[in-house]
Symmetry: C2
Subunit: 249 residues, 2 copies
């Protein structure tokens, strides 16, 4: 038995996220079908985390064990030749048997893209949030700076999540102008369900003058989902990378 790790990238528009579901096409299902078609084996992929419908990945990691012996680069080429064009394997590795794409992860980084304009841009559709109000990037960064550190992020999590420990540490949280797009980059040791989308929604709520900085600070001291911002569209969200301790993939 070998444990294979795949570093993949995907455009999430056509998928109902990563995780297998009934009656909905997901990225893991498309990839398992590709493994079956390319290698003739049925595998169960373990992903580095769930992603929501329409969310994209610059780098996503998943692993599977199988009783096959194929060189990683041959595996990569075989999968790319049968995968749909909106998913690609960037690299393949063999990893120790106890490696798990989710539990072995130590840090994750997401990017969220915002296009501030009253007119929609056809090339950004399903890829960037079209935000119709004026943006003050300095205000966004005032809010973003508050997210850095170790906090209870309950107020920034979708209701109904079963995760109990809602304390996470954020290392980087910053909005940057990139051409006509504003890019939010956030890196931490873990993220709650919908957390990045609610962090962005909260920074935008502050930009609109509907919440103060001390309101935002108060959210860490007591649960108040409605005071935090709304969950912005998944279409602007990209998993950018995942770190695995000493390992570099």
């Amino acid at each position: 038995m070998n444990n294979y790790l795949l570093k993949i990238t995907f455009l999430g528009t056509e998928y109902h996220g990563w995780q297998k579901q009934k009656n909905a096409l997901t990225v893991s299902e498309a990839l398992e079908t590709a493994v079956k078609n390319a290698l003739g084996v049925s595998v169960s992929l373990k992903g580095c985390g769930r992603t929501d419908a329409g969310v994209h990945a610059i780098n996503y990691y998943c692993s599977f064990t199988a009783d096959i012996n194929i060189a990683p680069e041959s595996l990569r080429l075989a999968l790319n030749s049968v995968l749909p064009k909106d998913i690609a394997v960037k690299k393949a590795f063999t990893v120790p048997k106890d490696f798990h794409a989710r539990f072995s992860a130590t840090e994750k980084e997401y990017i969220y893209k915002i296009y501030p304009s009253k007119t929609h841009n056809p090339f950004y559709e399903n890829r960037v949030l079209n935000y119709k109000y004026p943006i003050d990037i300095n205000k966004l960064n005032e809010a973003a700076a508050l997210f850095v550190g170790t906090h209870d992020f309950s107020s920034f999590s979708a209701t109904g999540s079963s995760v109990k420990d809602k304390v996470r540490t954020i290392y980087l949280s910053e909005f940057t102008q990139k051409g006509d797009i504003i890019e939010y980059r956030v890196r931490g040791n873990g993220f709650l369900y919908n957390m990045v989308r609610i962090l962005v929604g909260t920074a935008l709520k502050y930009n609109e003058g509907k919440i103060t900085l001390s309101d935002i600070e108060s959210l860490f001291n007591g649960y108040n989902r409605s005071l935090a911002g709304k969950t912005v569209s998944g279409a602007g969200l990209y998993l950018n990378d995942v770190w695995y301790g000493e390992e570099i993939f």
Copy 2:
């Protein structure tokens, strides 16, 4: 009667080009439907040129006359509110009655995008040509430099075109590295059917060592469609802008 000029942008993936056709969705048809839905009038749009299926436009110009009196900015907003998300009106103008988006044009500029990689990129699908061979950008520019000037471009035109005068003047023809994409920019007083795609195909043929620079020069002196390069995919092609003499839109 007013003559309105629209500066639009579109992602061409879902369309069979600009020009109206039976049994195929085209950009002009989508836009005429939007005018009908927004203003209640049936108009006949005159475009700045045909574009092929799957070809995109950063800036495309079209005009229509109608017995209405609406301020250009109101027209723009009304159309954007009913247009499909892959088409947007960037600006609207009133122009003199004799203005024609195609016949009044004095120069046009196209961009062609190439992603040189053995692995496909999900985010570039339908937008950038995935070219699987190694690229030497200096070689591409050696070929591109030959296209500048006034030449008979018959060999760089699709067969079956009814246009008689095949002499055109190219002012700018250059490949530039932009991140992981190679961008070809070409500006001229006019272009034959498929001409930009064949110019790019010819530069790539030279890059692959299958044609010499003197072969390319000889193409201007006698028709030889098969010696020129193949017609590369329309999905990498963007109409970038059109000039109208003294007028700036």
